[in-house]
Symmetry: C2
Subunit: 500 residues, 2 copies
């Protein structure tokens, strides 16, 4: 979930100067509405890495809005008064009432993180689950009772964290802010990374999703947080006013970050990557050979392989899949093309149609499109509600976690081409008799929504690229390059899993 916040998001001063005033004004308006209608409350949790800028973000939000109606609470070590009560007491005490905003720095996540690593320094999964369960119940209750909960993870890559700490230390005005704890946090950055991923994934729910925001560029960080907050406040303002005592329900789930350069993850791919034809042939032979041997290896009998292919229309999924199956024993694999659900499938929970095809140990299943349809086509085309696709990120992560726990090796590919290349391929298909069936009116319609798909893809990668099952983004402009990258990735993942 963190990778798209480690790629150096930046906003120019010029753009910031243009965007900030209207955002500020809009936030103030929403805040005023909130206090008049006594909806909410809105509770913002700012957590994240050391020196990421949590405090500065809180300051900026109170500067933008009316500070009389915002309460910022930083939770550090428990005070003697707090230590006399259950840990949750201080969080209850600090809750903002309806009509107000609260900003909690860290809150209950700090405890989960410090306790999960207590002892031997490695994550105790079961203990972490205890915390996760308590957090989910608490947040569920807050949401049921009408609180709009917005959780921001302010993130930095390891290099960015070092840079920030150094910069703070070099400046005499900020030197005092860097403590030993900050450098200690930097030292164990890599170890903590897995814990963050885990915790964020398991506590990102439909009601209370995490928004991971890169903290290195102050302008980007503030505008992004502000924009998400604005969208969320607008979404609850749309809900019909609660009358009487019944608490406000969010008919509208908070929208995901429709932020300024949110699609960077995809747009930054270097689509000029190419593989000359002689290299391609050689490598194809090499990796297909390896794949053939690995899939017939005796230790593969203790695993299964689940391959997921997603990508832009005409990105070359079919061709890539054929290069994979070319190395496999036909009795060992099935390919599942995913289109409209059947009548039988529609009568079941969404994931049922994929559970059907979960392979036995020693088996391979290749999904040509997959469960990610929920957060791609179904989201963009509004075949399902916001609530449905928002909660499905968590359901999908849970599903893939179960597959992995059942010794499946799950490899997910997103194949990306440029808009221009797509046009070329569409046209080519129309002019080639035997390919004409591959291009339909729907493809042209989808193409019109290119930008919406980009946002959906970035959200998807953000929310479902986990430490267990990461996404592999494939630069697919050159088919040869894409096919080899895919084969190589599968081979590497198999080699790692089958290592004795």
């Amino acid at each position: 979930m963190l990778e798209s916040a480690e790629i150096g998001h930046k906003i120019s001063k010029q753009m910031y100067t243009r965007k900030e005033p209207p955002l500020r004004k809009a936030l103030l308006n929403e805040q005023f509405d909130l206090s008049q209608t006594r909806r909410g409350p809105v509770l913002i949790i700012l957590s994240g890495v050391h020196a990421g800028g949590r405090g500065e973000t809180a300051n900026k939000l109170t500067e933008w809005m009316d500070p009389r109606h915002i309460r910022v609470v930083a939770f550090g070590p428990r005070t003697p008064e707090e230590a006399q009560r259950p840990p949750a007491w201080r969080y209850w005490r600090a809750l903002p009432p309806k009509g107000k905003l609260g900003i909690f720095l860290n809150a209950w996540y700090n405890e989960a993180m410090s306790e999960a690593t207590r002892g031997r320094g490695k994550i105790d999964d079961d203990r972490l689950h205890s915390h996760v369960q308590a957090i989910r119940e608490h947040e569920q209750m807050l949401s049921d009772e009408g609180t709009l909960l917005l959780k921001f993870w302010i993130h930095l890559s390891k290099a960015e964290q070092k840079e920030r700490l150094n910069a703070l230390e070099d400046d005499p005005r900020t030197r005092w802010r860097v403590t030993r704890a900050d450098w200690e946090a930097y030292r164990i950055y890599n170890k903590s990374h897995a814990l963050w991923e885990h915790l964020l994934r398991e506590t990102s729910t439909g009601e209370a999703p995490w928004y991971v925001v890169e903290g290195a560029d102050e302008r980007y960080r503030n505008l992004t947080v502000g924009k998400i907050l604005l969208d969320a406040m607008r979404s609850i303002a749309k809900v019909p006013s609660a009358t009487g005592k019944a608490p406000l329900k969010h008919a509208v789930a908070p929208t995901p970050p429709s932020v300024l350069d949110n699609v960077k993850l995809i747009r930054d791919l270097d689509l000029s990557k190419k593989l000359p034809s002689e290299d391609y042939k050689r490598q194809l032979e090499k990796y297909q050979g390896k794949l053939a041997r690995l899939s017939r290896h005796k230790r593969f009998a203790h695993h299964s392989l689940v391959l997921v292919f997603e990508g832009s229309d005409a990105a070359g999924k079919g061709g890539a899949i054929r290069r994979v199956t070319g190395a496999l024993d036909a009795r060992q694999y099935i390919t599942v093309p995913v289109a409209e659900p059947t009548e039988e499938e529609r009568a079941q929970p969404y994931l049922w149609r994929f559970w059907r095809y979960v392979p036995p140990l020693g088996g391979i299943v290749i999904f040509d499109r997959s469960w990610y349809g929920r957060v791609l086509v179904e989201r963009v085309e509004r075949y399902c509600t916001v609530d449905e696709w928002m909660r499905s990120y968590n359901e999908i992560n849970q599903f893939e976690e179960q597959l992995t726990a059942g010794d499946a090796i799950v490899v997910k590919f997103w194949l990306q081409i440029s808009k221009a290349e797509q046009l070329r391929r569409f046209r080519a298909r129309e002019h080639t008799a035997f390919k004409r069936f591959k291009i339909t009116a729907e493809d042209w319609r989808n193409r019109k929504k290119w930008n919406q798909y980009e946002v959906a893809v970035c959200d998807m990668v953000d929310r479902t690229s986990t430490e267990i099952v990461p996404w592999t983004l494939v630069e697919a402009e050159d088919k040869s390059y894409a096919r080899i990258k895919i084969l190589r990735t599968i081979v590497l993942r198999l080699e790692r899993a089958l290592k004795p």
Copy 2:
């Protein structure tokens, strides 16, 4: 949660013969409606103790309804085919589609129970939490996707289990059904009891509450399960039909058991218990003395005490509380009379007004009425929605668990008097000048809803009497008896907690 299913519920043959035919007809009608509207599906989970009659219940339900639209699946040890996939695979496979009913015997609860005790025989709390979290996510997803989930725990007391096993063995026709595993389960009954309590409490949610049904009397068991199923199916039939692809949402939560002798727990209290006046004085002195010493004991500084008084109107809560506070240091305790929430409290989540009063270590707080108002007066008077009071059982258990984890000793009393005694006390209040303020028109209104309150009280005790914080039911017809029972209970709980 189990105690009200260990008190020997029974239904006469005559009553059964009268109740069964209309129930059966109504169930068939609802089943037909379900299949026509393609709502649901309805998934019934039958779990519980060995020899409780899970299988017989499943058989009875299929006998009553149209078996072509019910699928019964008993989950035993995993088959070789199942063992090749993640554990959840077989549950997904067996899911009933919309419009149908499914009956799962045990399902995912068996795994949680066997794994939580794996190893050293004692419950591994963190491991259990891992399972609980997975179960809650799975059931949440099923509910979000439109499944009506009904979970029945078919229960027997230890004595009843022994009796049932013996009876089955004595009958040559059923002897084969009793296995070594059954007797082994009987042998570890006491140890398992705590695990059952724990698991039921933590997986009883607003969407998917457990219904604990005593299994000893076949007629009681079948009618109770049938009645709850009928109520639940009727409640979803009321939800406006889902059009298009959107899944059915339960606007109406399944109602709790409005079963035949559900109020037995309360009605069975022996209200003739009395304490002669000379005994009362002696014991009052004795227990007040003990309470005074215990509350000033140096080890009490590591605990706090939370006392909860609930009861029928005029049951004598005030008098009992004064006998308790008579033994305490006035600087050490506060009494919180709970009435209408204030404006400030209404702007917060429900439990906020009680969290305010959580005492520090060494402190005592006495609630004269409490958070249980949600599931008593607010339920009966419909001040909150079904959904709200249904989920609050779980929130309350979670709250009390947090108090206990923070070293609070929580003692809860329900004071019960008879309807006739209440009338006498109401009249006496009206005729005594200085007591007249204690009787209002509201008291007379509440009295008219006596039966509804009885049902609510029984539900409350069932769902919130946990192994950590049990309810103490107090026969309050005789004030002296009640006061001593209360004092003695507090003293015993304190002695146990302060034992070095």
